[in-house]
């Protein structure tokens, strides 16, 4: 699996270097270092070192992988976090936070309904007071305001 991650990074490095060589100048017209100098150095060294790491990885692949259950737990939390990111855009900070907490805690903290509901209500309220009232910071506004 680490190989896949490294290959993805290699792809990124090649793309990065490609733009550095195609779009950005190495030197400016006055003979100074241009905007492309650093990106070219970074891009080329990135490709070289990622390739080295990939070869090394292919030579000794004894890296043990996590169990399916570990990946399930991770995937579950990531999926919920991403849903939360989308919900934030749609329903705004308070509603999205409460929904996210109810669903996530229902799975993680199973069987303690009252405790979960209490957290899901109190956390957005606490955030509202901290950010909106005390710190005067903005909260994610709702695209579709719920009628509550």
């Amino acid at each position: 699996m680490r190989v896949l991650f490294l290959v993805a990074l290699l792809g990124g490095a090649i793309f990065y270097a490609y733009i550095a060589f195609m779009d950005l100048n190495f030197m400016t017209r006055t003979g100074r270092l241009g905007p492309g100098f650093f990106p070219r150095v970074i891009g080329v060294s990135g490709i070289v070192i990622t390739l080295l790491a990939i070869f090394e990885e292919l030579r000794n692949k004894q890296l043990q992988e996590g169990s399916a259950e570990q990946w399930r737990e991770f995937g579950f939390l990531v999926a919920l976090a991403l849903c939360y990111a989308v919900l934030l855009r749609l329903f705004g900070g308070y509603v999205a936070t409460a929904l996210f907490l109810v669903v996530t805690l229902a799975h993680l903290n199973r069987g303690r309904l009252m405790q979960n509901l209490l957290i899901a209500v109190l956390v957005p309220v606490g955030i509202y007071f901290l950010f909106d009232k005390v710190l005067n910071a903005s909260m994610p506004p709702a695209l579709f305001a719920l009628p509550i």
């Binding site: 699996m1 680490r2 991650f5 990074l9 990124g12 490095a13 990065y16 733009i19 950005l24 100048n25 400016t28 003979g31 100074r32 270092l33 241009g34 905007p35 100098f37 650093f38 990106p39 970074i42 891009g43 060294s45 990135g46 070192i49 990622t50 080295l52 790491a53 090394e56 996590g66 570990q70 990946w71 737990e73 991770f74 939390l77 990531v78 976090a81 991403l82 939360y84 990111a85 934030l88 900070g93 996210f100 907490l101 996530t104 805690l105 993680l108 903290n109 405790q115 957290i119 956390v123 955030i127 901290l130 950010f131 005390v134 710190l135 005067n136 910071a137 903005s138 909260m139 994610p140």
Partner: protein, 507 residues
Amino acid sequence: MDIFSDLVMGLSVAITPINMLYLLIGALVGMVVGVIPGFGPSAGLAILLPVTFGMDPIGAIMMLAAIYYGAMYGGTITSILLNTPGESATVASTFDGFPLAKNGRAGPALVMQAAASFVGGTVGVILITILAPLFSQVSRSFGPPEYFLLAVMGMLTLIMMIGTNWKLGVISALIGFALGTVGVDLETGQGRYTFGSAELIGGIYFIPIAIGLFGLGELFFAFYCGLHKTGTGSIVQYDKEERFWPTAQDWISTKFTMVRGSILGFVVGVIPGAGATIASLMAYSMERSLSPTPEKFGKGEMAGLVAPETANNAASSGAMIPLLTLGIPGSASTAVLLAAFLLWGLRPGPLFMQQNPELAWGLIASMYLGNMALLAINIFAIPLFVQLIKVPYRVLGPIVVVICAMGTFSVHASFVETYLMFAAGIVGFFMRLYGFSPAALVLALVLGPLAEEALRQTLTISRGSFMIFVERTPSLWIIAVTIALVVLLPLLGRMGSRAKKVEQAGG
């Protein structure tokens, strides 16, 4: 005495009721962040940075600094009671801290770690007070060539100390450098990697990346490791013990340990890229090799807990020196602190102490007070933190996700940055899982633009000749120190990792 009057002036700035309140909040938050496994000072600073926006600069900086050094105090509580270090800088404290607790001496261990942290932190601040003005004097002769070399030195030492696989460390740093080049090139005005997007013209913003990597990424990793399923049942019950306070013997046998640990920790902390984790491991192995009874180490020797604790606190003070006098962060957490300074329109560097004496000395003075507050909190609020350790991770986790998201959004009210934070969280998880270094990425993201600008200025001064680096005395010195570090650090690192291995083998 100049320093003395400066310090008194700093105290007068720091001691106002509202600033004291911020300092206390910072110290408490730092402790809490330190106690939560997986979260160190960098995560705490990044997540809470947005919270300080409504404050005045001095209060905000004092509070953030208190979070930074407070985390070093908090991390040890779980090391002692649970054998789980709250963060990497307190790994060495588990070697003897947990055996002490198992032998029924958890109370004395907790008190001694608070005292050791206090000594380390305070010696560190005293050394800052004496050395920071001197360093500013020296660094005033620094020009772009020296800044470029210092940035290179910081990256080199950090990558060398990552240890396991240097290639992955370099790749992490390169990702950071690459992200740092996004945005309009300040010299030519040409856009780089913006792809016509208005959001990217100003570059990739630092805070979402730091919150994502250190906050969300660590959280995902903790869930992957199953931390939310393990209870805290194995916590050592210290309140049933007969003696809570350390004996006179504990103090007498560790008095030189504290001095040695503090000085070693501070020196290691000053070196860009080295930091508290290495300092604590080095102090531990130094103490064992100096001890007349090295066989007792790892079985509950007080000196084995005191040494790493003084060292990691002194190191986090030491790391403030390059930050304040050069404007160059040596670690991920000082990089976040630098970002905080910059957000307030403050540019740390050689002239910082001259141009902003109230702020600089106010901050230094506040660190004396902060360490005292932390000592008191540490001893008297231990039951409170034990309660906090008992809050299950499965409840804490979702709340951390919420705080990361809200914190990121509140900076610029930008959904793009919030999504960037989530993306950085997922990338951060894979980096942690596959042995990459999120800290190197974040440091490179901050140092990259600094280094690029410095290099281009250097070559403009020298009309394109690289010889300028060996023609200037300060830059020659920096090159010499860098070479010395490159030669010496692997040896020291081996010393630290040997200590780790011996402990693991010995139980």
